[in-house]
């Protein structure tokens, strides 16, 4: 049981940008502006020029419903828009079109891994609004003389997801954010890799104080840092006998601190009123129809993976963290051993992808299948398989080419066996020591075999062969009880082996 000693309460407001739509929410400007010059994707509507009229994008409404459903919210049958009035240069109209009463969805929840097991984080509401423009400050926000504005982002469709203050630590907040990205990522409504795709404001209070709202958080890691700082700051204020006041604070990412924004500016009085230029939406019947089209969501998929493929829950969790990865795994698991596939996709491939900052699209399913097949057939070693995966990611090619080029093909069993016999014959003392109980003596023999096979042998298999010869006196280790053993003399040392091995050694001219 997590007792939350400081009485930390964290609620998050997450803005998800629907950047997979073709156009903005209220006008036909394209959403693909990320690499273009400022103010090159704007029109009278998203610039707020007089006389322009917004018309809502139907796909944006459908995406909002998808998100609401995926967050277990109730989707309303009547929803409408409001004007939120404030003067700030990121808003060309002097107001933002958003929702107030009658948000499109509310009253949901998300399950996360809390400090002490599963934690249910309530979703107060998930509503639609338009993105403001992007401000660029010369130098830091508190020092620059003026503000530069790019309205390309202005009018992009946003879904604001407001959580209940259910999180009790920065770690839980981080996990909530990861989970949210995970769920929304499944819905194919946004590309989380684009700049500004998900933005966070955090509300945090501790016992005995009021809450602070932290703005300007630019990453999930930043959210965690800002919250950690804020807990320490608020505790210090209280410890010194001060009062934690309700205020908006600005996160300074470089310095990892939060700064109070002057009180005058936060005297928010938004004077919400119904947006007269947009008519209400009556969308009864939409939600049930859209629900049919939702993909299997992460939690459900994770449980199914464990059940259907018998893989570890940790693996299932990691594999379902991204829809594309989950699909990749499932396609592979259908044609290979699912457990081995889980290990290689999750523990190896995912790590190598993360290291290179790549997504699973950078790796071909067929290549993973060949690697697994080669491993299963003991044609390559595990080290060789890792080498192949890395080379495929770095240089491309095919597993077969890489094996040829790098000589990764495993040395066939009988060659290992011969090398093992040679090693024993050449180092009878080590063999005898091992048989006398000095387990470590085996290592030197393994080393000799590896040298003889030029590293092409699988070290695990070499050990297996050596142990089989030295303990059972026979390889492969079959029908043990029938094996007649004999003592042979190699040089001055007596070694006990099976008759077939002794015969083999005689034939090879060693004894």
């Amino acid at each position: 049981m997590y007792d939350n000693p400081d009485g930390v309460m964290i609620g998050l407001e997450v803005h998800v940008q629907l950047n997979k739509l073709k156009t903005k929410v209220f006008c036909g400007c394209v959403t693909d502006y990320h690499n273009d010059p400022p103010n090159s994707h704007v029109c009278p509507v998203c610039l707020g020029l007089p006389g322009s009229m917004p018309v809502i994008n139907k796909k944006a409404v459908e995406a909002a419903i998808k998100i609401g459903l995926a967050l277990n919210c109730k989707v309303e049958e009547h929803t409408q828009f409001y004007r939120k009035n404030y003067y700030y240069p990121d808003l060309p109209k002097g107001f933002q079109i958003t929702q107030y009463d009658f948000p499109i969805s509310s009253g949901g929840y998300v399950m996360i891994e809390g400090e002490d097991g599963e934690l249910r984080v309530g979703i107060t509401r998930a509503h639609m609004e338009e993105d403001p423009g992007r401000l660029v400050h010369e130098g830091t926000i508190d020092k620059s003389k003026y503000t530069l504005i790019d309205y390309n982002r202005s009018g992009m469709a946003l879904i604001e997801i407001v959580s209940d203050p259910d999180m009790r630590s920065p770690k839980e907040a981080r996990r909530y954010l990861d989970k949210l990205r995970n769920i929304v990522g499944y819905l194919d409504v946004f590309d989380g890799n684009l700049e500004g795709a998900m933005r966070v404001d955090a509300n945090i209070s501790i016992m005995g104080g009021q809450r602070a709202e932290i703005k300007n958080i630019s990453s999930f890691k930043g959210a965690e840092r800002a919250l950690l700082f804020e807990i320490v700051r608020q505790k210090n204020v209280l410890r010194r006998g001060g009062v934690v006041v309700q205020e908006t604070r600005h996160f300074d990412e470089a310095r990892e601190i939060t700064l109070s924004m002057r009180t005058k500016e936060e005297a928010h009085d938004y004077r919400y009123f119904p947006e007269p230029d947009l008519v209400p939406l009556k969308i009864s019947g939409w939600a049930p129809a859209i629900k049919e089209t939702l993909p299997e969501l992460p939690d459900a998929r994770r449980m199914r993976f464990v059940e259907q493929y018998g893989i570890k829950d940790d693996h299932a969790k990691a594999l379902t963290s991204e829809l594309k990865l989950a699909i990749f795994y499932e396609d592979v698991a259908k044609k290979a051993d699912p457990k081995t596939a889980a290990v290689w996709v999750c523990d190896v491939l995912k790590g190598e992808l993360n290291y290179r900052d790549l997504t699973v699209e950078a790796f071909k399913k067929e290549h993973m299948l060949s690697v697994l097949e080669l491993l299963a057939g003991r044609k390559i070693t595990e080290d060789g398989a890792v080498d192949i995966i890395r080379t495929l990611l770095d240089k491309g090619g095919s597993p077969e080419e890489i094996i040829k080029e790098k000589g990764l093909v495993i040395v066939a069993g009988d060659i290992v066996e011969t090398a093992a016999l040679e090693a024993i014959v050449e180092n009878p003392q080590a063999a005898a020591d091992y048989q006398a109980g000095k387990v470590k003596a085996l290592n030197s023999l393994v080393g000799v075999v590896m040298k003889k096979t030029k590293g092409g042998a699988d070290a695990r298999k070499v050990r297996e062969v050596l142990i089989a010869i030295l303990s059972d006196g026979f390889y492969p280790p079959i029908e043990r009880e029938k094996i007649e053993k004999t003592i042979i003399k190699i040089g001055d040392v007596m070694v006990e082996v099976s008759k077939p091995i002794a015969n083999l050694l005689k034939k090879m001219g060693y004894v």
Partner: protein
């Protein structure tokens, strides 16, 4: 009842700098507007559903399609009314 303090606050929200003379002049004016709204209190609204929107329409949508002429103005057109620009950006006084 709108006080001088309310008026100053409303002025601030609209980024209007009000002189002493303005405050003297507008406080009673706004109060008389507000008084006029009290007329509505006399209307019997028993059993009438609240009006959330004045238009009798709903569900006006556009498809997710880029509007003609690429949807957008050129950067030059977009900036043509701006008093100050820099490197393709609108330029505004700093606000925090």
């Amino acid at each position: 009842m709108i006080t001088r303090k309310d008026l100053t606050h409303i002025g601030w929200l609209s980024r209007l700098e009000l002189s002493e003379k303005d405050i003297e002049k507008y406080t009673p004016k706004l109060n008389s507007v507000l008084d006029y709204f009290t007329e509505l209190d006399d209307v019997d609204t028993e059993g009438v559903p609240p009006t959330y929107h004045v238009l009798p329409l709903s569900n006006v949508f556009r498809e997710d399609e880029v509007s003609a002429q690429g949807g957008s103005l050129t950067q030059e057109e977009a900036l043509s009314n701006a008093p100050k620009t820099q490197d393709g950006f609108f330029k505004a006084p700093r606000m925090m």
